[in-house]
């Protein structure tokens, strides 16, 4: 069977990425670098979900960090206070994020774009405030500490390399399910909603329902990432899930390219690299993030590889 050149190239690329991915922990001996990769993986999962919401469906959500937090706190509480093993906690965290995603998505039916954005910010703030104040349940500002070490069928996840493979697994799940989704009629429906919601509904797309669907699904992945954070960090605190985090993810999506799944990785990479590089001058962190936001949006809103929908 003779494959066309383009397909052959794709397979070779794929194989190369696969080999590097599996071998990475052995290439990068220093746990510091592997740690960086793990953070990169976590933010990739978050941003991929956000790209579905923002880049594909055109809904601006500045509350993504709250769903990240929902996942994190759910896992923390289930594992620490109720002794649940990791896998069921992970699944439940994802479902909780999904559920609240649907809930927050419901107003899109009635509330205009900018107001919906405001709503997502408020949801994020309410989440943070509740978590900070409900000391009995969530540990307040101190958060929940001492989250148990996760085990999956006898495999204890302890080292950076272990977390790398866990993260990689979650990332593959995220990327491949999303890739299938955006290629399907559902993905087309989401894009149609972004392009022209009225025309989309006249084409047979149930716009109100699909917006809720896109939002919920995007948030599900945030829940996964939150669960990962909980066991990776062994603590969750409200400061992990502030509005700043949501902004970080938004920029990652924008810089990489809205409406382009694969491009998200480039955006996340640049943002996590920038954070690392600028760590010594951490007090300028938000200044730099703010500058990046303004400059990118002023001069190249479609990011590196984004859909032409967002070009000036």
């Amino acid at each position: 069977m003779a494959l066309p050149e383009a397909k052959k190239l794709k397979l070779v690329l794929f194989a190369a990425v696969f080999i590097v991915a599996i071998g990475l922990p052995f290439i990068l001996r220093d746990p510091y670098y592997l740690g960086f990769v793990n953070v990169f993986i976590m933010y990739s999962i978050l941003s991929l979900g956000l790209n579905l919401i923002l880049g594909y469906t055109g809904l601006l959500s500045l509350g993504h960090a709250a769903f990240f937090g929902l996942g994190g706190y759910t896992t923390a509480i289930l594992m620490k206070n109720h002794g649940l093993p990791f896998v069921p906690s992970l699944v439940i965290s994802a479902l909780i994020a999904l559920f609240f995603g649907f809930l927050v998505g419901i107003p899109t039916r009635k509330v205009k774009g900018d107001y919906f954005c405001l709503l997502t910010i408020i949801f994020g703030e309410i989440f943070r405030l509740v978590v900070q104040s409900w000391i009995g349940f969530t540990g307040g500002a101190m958060g929940i500490v001492g989250i148990p070490i996760p085990k999956i069928f006898g495999w204890t996840i302890r080292t950076e390399a272990d977390f790398y493979f866990l993260g990689l697994g979650l990332l593959c799940f995220t990327y491949f399910t999303l890739a299938i989704l955006v290629k399907s009629k559902f993905g087309r429906a989401f894009v149609a909603i972004r392009e022209d919601e009225l025309a989309a509904s006249v084409m047979g797309v149930n716009a109100p329902v699909y917006k809720i669907l896109a939002f919920g699904i995007g948030c599900l992945y945030a829940g996964l990432a939150g669960s990962y954070l909980a066991v990776y960090q062994t603590v969750v605190t409200p400061s992990n899930f502030r509005l700043e985090e949501s902004c970080f993810m938004i920029i990652a999506v924008i810089v990489g390219g809205m409406g382009n799944l694969g491009a998200t990785f480039s955006g996340v990479f640049l943002m996590t690299l920038a954070t690392e590089v600028f760590r010594p001058i951490a007090e300028y962190r938000m200044l730099i993030i703010g500058l990046i936001m303004v400059i990118v949006l002023l001069f190249r809103p479609q990011g590196l590889f984004g859909a032409s929908a967002f070009k000036d």
Binding site: K110, C117, L118, L119, M286, L287, M293, V294
Partner: protein
């Protein structure tokens, strides 16, 4: 007790109204959610703090300088960050830019003043007088008068001054105004400037009343402006006033009678409820989209 709470609420409400006007006008004209609004006027208030505590400037002079500075900063943000995006296809792009601008200003404020709460001087010597058998401080009365004074002045400006009328035209219909020869860019800069000025005055009044100023008030200030504007009706001057009052009074009542820890949460819940039920607010009219 209720009386004092009401007075305090009205006072708070008038301050809130002051800071909301600028935000509401901008949104009314440009449909842009100026996320940097609160951070700009808090920057101005912090600036005033430095003028007062470090340089011991006369109160009135300090207020005037800071207010102007706040106005200039607001216009500068518009000029550098928002202007180019006015014709943008997706409005959410401007919103994210606004957030970026907010973070830049916030970070600069933090570098200069740190994030702790600073003691803002009272400006008005405290004395108590009796009204209807209750004690009110002159500080409260004067603050109220100043706030209301500025609101009334601004209202008159919009109604009777040539430039004010131009602003109203632009907020009604920007394209027709342009065709009528009104200099849109100038008007918009002025709107931002005035919003910044009023915001800084409001911020100073607030900080003088509570003797506290901190960086964190910036974001909270933006949320207050949003909430009051939405409640009262975006783009409407009266709406900003009504929204500010309702927010100020209810916040006070909630803080005292319900719980002060959840005060912010409850403010947000009010905003959500209004957004879900009647997003156009009390004074706003519904939007009919022509297909």
């Amino acid at each position: 007790m209720l009386f004092n709470i009401l007075i305090a609420g009205i006072l708070l409400g008038s301050i809130y109204a002051l800071v909301t006007i600028g935000y509401s006008m901008v949104y009314g004209i440009l449909k842009l959610m100026n996320f940097a609004h609160g951070d700009v006027y808090i920057f101005g208030t912090l600036f005033c703090f430095t003028l007062l505590s470090k340089y011991h400037l006369n109160a009135v002079i300090a207020v005037v300088i800071s207010a102007i500075m706040g106005g200039v900063l607001a216009s500068a943000v518009e000029f550098f960050a928002y202007r180019r995006l006015r014709a943008a296809q997706h409005r959410m792009i401007s919103m994210i830019t606004a957030l970026g601008a907010a973070y830049i200003i916030q970070n600069c404020s933090e570098l200069e003043w740190g994030s702790q709460v600073l003691p803002f001087p009272s400006l008005i010597p405290a004395q108590f007088i009796e009204v209807f058998g209750h004690q009110i401080s002159t500080t409260q009365i004067i603050t109220l008068m100043v706030a209301v004074g500025f609101i009334v002045l601004f209202n008159l400006f919009l109604k009777y001054h040539k430039m004010g009328k131009a602003i109203l035209c632009v907020s009604e219909d920007i394209n027709t105004s342009r065709l009528m020869g009104i200099p849109i860019n100038l008007i918009i800069s002025i709107v931002y400037f005035l919003g910044g000025v009023l915001g800084v005055i409001g911020g100073i009044l607030y900080s003088a009343s509570f003797n506290a100023i901190s960086l964190g008030m910036g974001f909270r200030g933006t949320i207050i402006a949003f909430t009051a504007a939405v409640i009262g009706g975006i783009g409407s001057m009266n709406g900003a006033l009504i929204g500010g009052m309702i927010l100020g009074i209810s916040e006070n009542i909630i803080a005292v009678y319900v719980s002060s820890t959840y005060r912010d949460t409850l403010t947000f819940l009010i905003l959500i409820i209004v957004l879900l039920i009647k997003p156009s607010g009390i004074m706003g009219k519904g939007d009919y989209e022509k297909v």
